[in-house]
Amino acid sequence: MIIETKYFGEMEIDSNKIITFPEGILGLEALKKYMIFEMHENPKFQWLQSLDQAEICFLLVNPWDFLKGYEMDISDEELESINVESIEQIAVYNIVTLAEDIAKSTVNFLAPLIVNAHTKVAAQIVLREDKYHTKHPIFSKEGDASC
């Protein structure tokens, strides 16, 4: 099928790869269907493009590329909400907020996206860890070293 995207115009996608957020993303609950695209220029980043509203697009990272000790405690109910049967099925992403000065961009480690890689059902969950918040500098000095 062909979809409209924010940055790449119309794109042909494989409808088997469509990701469904049954409860949406917090603040954008009405939007359920998304697609993840790799960023060719930098494999550490992905795009999460809404299929319901073309101008909605997020930049994602894999948390462990930026914070090796990232820990998340996901409840059984949250796992059930995306029909996960084994932990290997889960893919984890965090949303990046790009700043005008890109070096000051931040990543939301408090509320990761968990995706069932098999069924493509996903949810945004809120961690109970006190050590994470919504604005961790992503390109901190330590971060640069690990990139």
């Binding site: 924010k6 940055y7 993303i25 917090l26 603040g27 954008l28 960023m39 220029e41 930098n42 550490k44 980043f45 101008e55 909605i56 697009c57 997020f58 930049l59 409840s75 059984d76 109910e77 949303i95 990046v96 907020t97 790009l98 700043a99 005008e100 890109i102 939301n108 408090l110 509320a111 945004q124 809120v126 918040h133 919504t134 604005k135 992503i138 390109f139 640069d144 990139c147």
Partner: protein
């Protein structure tokens, strides 16, 4: 909004599965105990709002993308 007055150690029930108790009340702070089924998500409102706000910001600030290649 329904407004109820409760004393320390008193509770309210929301439906028949959610119980909220006043544990302690001191210096303008109220400590609440919440008993609810595990599928009910409970968060401090400001945490919830911070995440919503962050998500909205993240959708609109995609500028300067070529810079990303450097990182």
């Amino acid at each position: 909004m329904l407004v109820l007055t409760r004393k320390t150690n008193e509770s309210i029930m929301i439906g028949n599965k959610i119980k909220i108790s006043v544990i302690q009340c001191e210096d303008g702070k109220v400590k609440l105990g919440i008993e609810a089924p595990s599928d009910v998500k409970i968060h401090r409102e400001e945490v919830f709002n911070a995440i919503k706000e962050e998500n909205k910001q993240a959708t609109i600030s995609l500028g300067n993308l070529s810079e990303l290649k450097k990182f």
